[in-house]
């Protein structure tokens, strides 16, 4: 991963856009891994149909990654001759093979033990040399990635990088990139972008429990929250983390919990509590392949049902999904505003493909307007009714500590004051009050986005938006005009905006990465798409590739 990170960072230094996807074995804790790096002069928002270059640092367990690293006859493989023949899973691509010794032949065993084998930095130098990155870009990138390492290690890696660049001059493979201009950009992962968006939105408390692939999000957040005077609590389980989150939020501090599918399953009861007691809370679900333990380190979009419908009773809430790595920032910030202003749980469905991808993005994306929690507006003198039935279904929730407004948050069916009652009147009135919040909810420009105007519409969300856009561009270029509709708001369905986006579309296809066509059924069941709408739904963990989508639609 260090090799990929240094290369991507150096390319970003030079002014290229890029995207790095990380592949890990199923065992989560480390071991064999692959870094898939794409570099371009234009923004990259999906994985490609094929890779040009495959550099093998070794062949250990490569077969498990082979389906995720598409190669073909025009690809090139560089490997150490000492590592032996190319395994069948990779060789079957019939890619061109270049043998290149990437180990330092002079290194003793002690050298290797003290300063690492450095094969990865040599390889990074080779790839950088092949695409034409300058040594200066690499030097800066290496210094940034290796910050805190001792001088010996830095020096050894710098030497290996230089040797790699030199070795590349002897190879002429035609991978030189078009020149570009250096531009200030951001290099960020989807998980970091969610964390930053949440901080921008005002989150100052996070309750969490470790779970792949969401752990790196909270590991990034923990020290940053402290710098801002906030706090992260590592809970004993997800039942505790969501309840800690609600506790902090009840105290008036915007709060968030971060998890993946199995954790979300444990939180479902308390989501119902947040709905009934009307407590703001942001829940981030970095989706992974399920059900049960599934494949912890790999992506899938299969938590749509639980996010929208998971709870007993009538428990409406907002469900959002970011459409790109950069959009993770926007969506998370907006999620905080919606939770606070609607006094509701807001679930953000990210996924491993977005969360653990590192992308070069343009800074200065548009930001949603801040919305705050309603804490005042109580008429003086009158008895305070936390759950008053009034014209506005969002009723004031004074901050604990405010004299004269003491209220008890209540998960039992309650009256307007918040006292538990068992009758039909209060039950129906409070259900209607809460439903009204979502009936009235108007997402405005943030509902989602449409790209293109073709009469075929691909309707999708999350990490499938990127490959859908690429497929639509190709189809449009081939004379089959195709538009892409990305939904940022999955629930409540942004009916007006969606109807507008669908106007003129003769063929509508809902694209999602799960077997059960969860989004398709949600939209169709709510009559938000025409009955003739088609579905492309298949499980992860393989990402949708543009060619796959284009072939479906052809």
């Amino acid at each position: 991963m260090t090799a990929g990170t240094v290369f991507l960072r150096a390319a970003a230094q030079a002014g290229y856009y890029g995207l790095m996807t990380q592949l890990f074995g199923p065992q989560v804790r480390g071991g064999e891994a692959a870094a898939l790096v794409q570099i371009s002069t234009a923004p990259i928002e999906c994985q490609p149909d094929r890779f040009d270059l495959f550099v093998a640092l070794d062949w250990d367990k490569v077969e498990q990654f082979a389906p995720e690293i598409p190669l073909d006859q025009s690809s090139t493989i560089i490997s150490n001759p000492a590592d032996g023949a190319v395994p069948a899973s990779i060789a079957k691509s019939k890619a061109r093979l270049i043998s290149l010794s990437m180990n330092d032949p002079g290194a003793t065993r002690l050298d290797k033990a003290l300063r690492g084998k450095r094969t990865n930095m040599f390889a990074t130098g080779v790839v950088a040399g092949l695409v034409g990155l300058r040594a200066e870009n690499l030097r800066i990138a290496l210094a940034q990635v290796m910050v805190g390492k001792n001088v010996d290690v830095m020096e050894a890696n710098t030497t290996a990088l230089a040797a790699g660049i030199k070795a590349a001059t002897a190879l002429e493979l035609g991978f030189k990139l078009e020149p570009t201009r250096e531009m200030p950009r951001w290099l960020i992962t989807g998980n970091q972008a969610i964390g930053l968006g949440a901080l921008r939105g005002g989150v100052r408390f996070v309750g969490c429990y470790p779970i792949t692939p969401a752990t790196d999000l909270v590991e990034w957040l923990a020290p940053e929250l402290q710098k801002l005077g906030g706090r992260l609590a590592l809970a004993e389980d997800e039942l505790a983390s969501i309840n800690m989150t609600l506790g902090a939020s009840y105290g008036g501090v915007p709060a968030m919990t971060v998890t993946s599918g199995p954790g979300l399953s444990l939180m479902v009861e308390t989501i119902g509590l947040a709905v009934a007691a009307e407590v703001p809370a942001v829940l981030i679900d970095v989706m992974r392949a399920g059900p049960s333990t599934g494949i912890p380190s790999k992506t899938e979009q299969s938590d749509v049902n639980i996010a929208i419908y998971g709870s007993h009773g009538d428990a409406p809430r907002v469900v959002l999904a970011p459409m790109s790595v950069g959009d993770c920032m926007t969506t998370a910030e907006w999620a905080v505003y919606l939770a606070e202003s609607l006094q509701s749980p807001v679930i953000v469905l990210s996924d491993q493909a977005l969360g653990q991808a590192q992308a070069v993005v343009d800074p200065g994306l548009a930001r949603p307007k801040p919305l705050r929690r309603r804490t005042n507006g109580v008429s003086p003198g009158a008895q305070f009714k936390r759950y008053a039935i009034a014209a506005d279904p969002v009723t004031p929730m004074p901050r604990p500590g405010s004299p004269g407004y003491q209220w008890v948050g209540e998960g039992l069916t309650h009256n307007e004051v918040g006292i538990p009652v068992g009758g039909a009147g209060a039950h129906v009135a409070q259900i209607n009050k809460r439903a009204k919040k979502f009936d009235q909810f108007e997402p405005g420009e943030w509902w989602g986005q449409t790209w293109g105007q073709g009469d075929t519409a691909i309707l999708t969300f999350g990490s499938s938006v990127g490959p859908a856009r690429e497929a639509a561009q190709r189809l449009t270029g081939a004379g089959r005009p195709t538009r892409v509709i990305g939904l940022r708001v999955l629930s409540p369905i942004p009916r007006q905006a969606l109807a507008q986006a669908l106007k003129g579309a003769r063929r509508v296809v809902v694209l999602e990465q799960n077997h059960g066509a969860q989004l398709y059924r949600h939209l169709l069941g709510n009559k938000a798409v025409p009955v003739t709408t088609e579905s492309i739904a298949r499980p992860g963990p393989l990402p949708f590739r543009p060619a796959e989508i284009a072939a479906h639609l052809a």
């Binding site: 200030p184 939020s249 009840y250």
Partner: protein, 284 residues
């Protein structure tokens, strides 16, 4: 026991127990021990001297968990077993509030058992009061974790046959630093312990014997069984665990005090968000 009649420096207003009553009528059966706990708690809050709006009472599910709405404080009545987690989040986010968690033996020791262990471990500055009647009362009389093994019930004819959970021993073993037992039938003594628990710097746990006259009428005899025991053990956890395992469950008073430091208050902001954003910039 310490003298708790003197108020702390920041508790300046003279308050009476009635200042903490909401006026809502409890759902509890006549004779329920929880009335005594409510009375003792209101007296304690008056003695402590912080006004109702600075106090938050957090509870889960069960008869005793209905308590917050019967006071005039801020409060939250959440899901079964998770009150301690909710209270932990609240206290970490709002250290200025007086946070007290209340509930029953089923809520705290069974469905919420994991949170009980970790609240003792975490040592966040709050008080946890468990009203232990050794039965699930709200669901009409099933054996709880503290029920005697031979207690006959519809769901467990002839007795559940399981060794009762010892909350005091578990609390001491899990790292709690203030562990006490009180009796609902002695609300003044209870109030003294509650004030001490509130003022304890860190997690304080008071197990209250609170009889369920409806499903456990034999608990009416508890008032004759309880006795005051001033043999508090300081710091020696092994000795405190041995003492709580050896007693018959009717000794009242502080059982154990430890010296482990409480979770610290959050830090003050030291950097603006723009500083944090700078780490992502690349290029010129």
């Amino acid at each position: 026991m310490n003298d708790v009649t003197a108020t702390e420096a920041h508790c300046v207003r003279a308050l009476a127990a009635k200042d903490f009553m909401s006026g809502a009528h409890p759902i509890w059966c006549p004779g329920c021990g929880d009335y005594g706990v409510l009375a003792g708690l209101e007296r304690a809050l008056a003695l402590h001297g912080r006004p109702p709006h600075e106090v938050a009472l957090i509870s889960g599910i069960g008869c005793s968990s209905r308590l917050p709405a019967y006071t005039n404080c801020y409060g939250f009545h959440g899901v079964h077993g998770r009150a301690l987690a909710f209270a932990t989040g609240l206290k970490l986010a709002r250290p200025d509030l007086e946070v007290i968690t209340v509930g029953g033996d089923g809520d705290g020791y069974s469905i919420g058992g994991n949170h009980f262990i970790h609240a003792c471990r975490r040592n966040v500055d709050m008080l946890y009061i468990v009203m232990d009647n050794r039965v699930y009362g709200m669901t009409k009389g099933q054996p709880s974790p503290t029920t005697e093994p031979d207690w006959d019930s519809e769901i467990a004819p002839g007795g559940i046959g399981l060794r009762p959970f010892n909350p005091l021993a578990v609390a001491v073993a899990s790292g709690a630093n203030f562990v006490a037992r009180a009796f609902a039938g002695q609300p003044d003594h209870l109030a003294q312990l509650v004030v001490e628990g509130i003022r304890w710097p860190g997690f304080a746990f008071i197990e209250v014997l609170s009889p369920c006259i409806t499903f456990r009428p034999e608990q009416f005899d508890w008032k004759a069984k309880v006795r005051h025991d001033e043999a508090m053990i300081q710091n020696d956890r092994a000795a405190a665990i041995a003492a709580t395992l050896a007693d018959d469950g009717f000794n009242l008073g502080v059982v154990f005090k430890g010296e482990r430091a409480a979770v610290t208050k959050p830090s003050q902001p030291i950097a603006p968000l723009s500083d944090i954003e700078r780490q992502f910039t690349v290029g010129t």
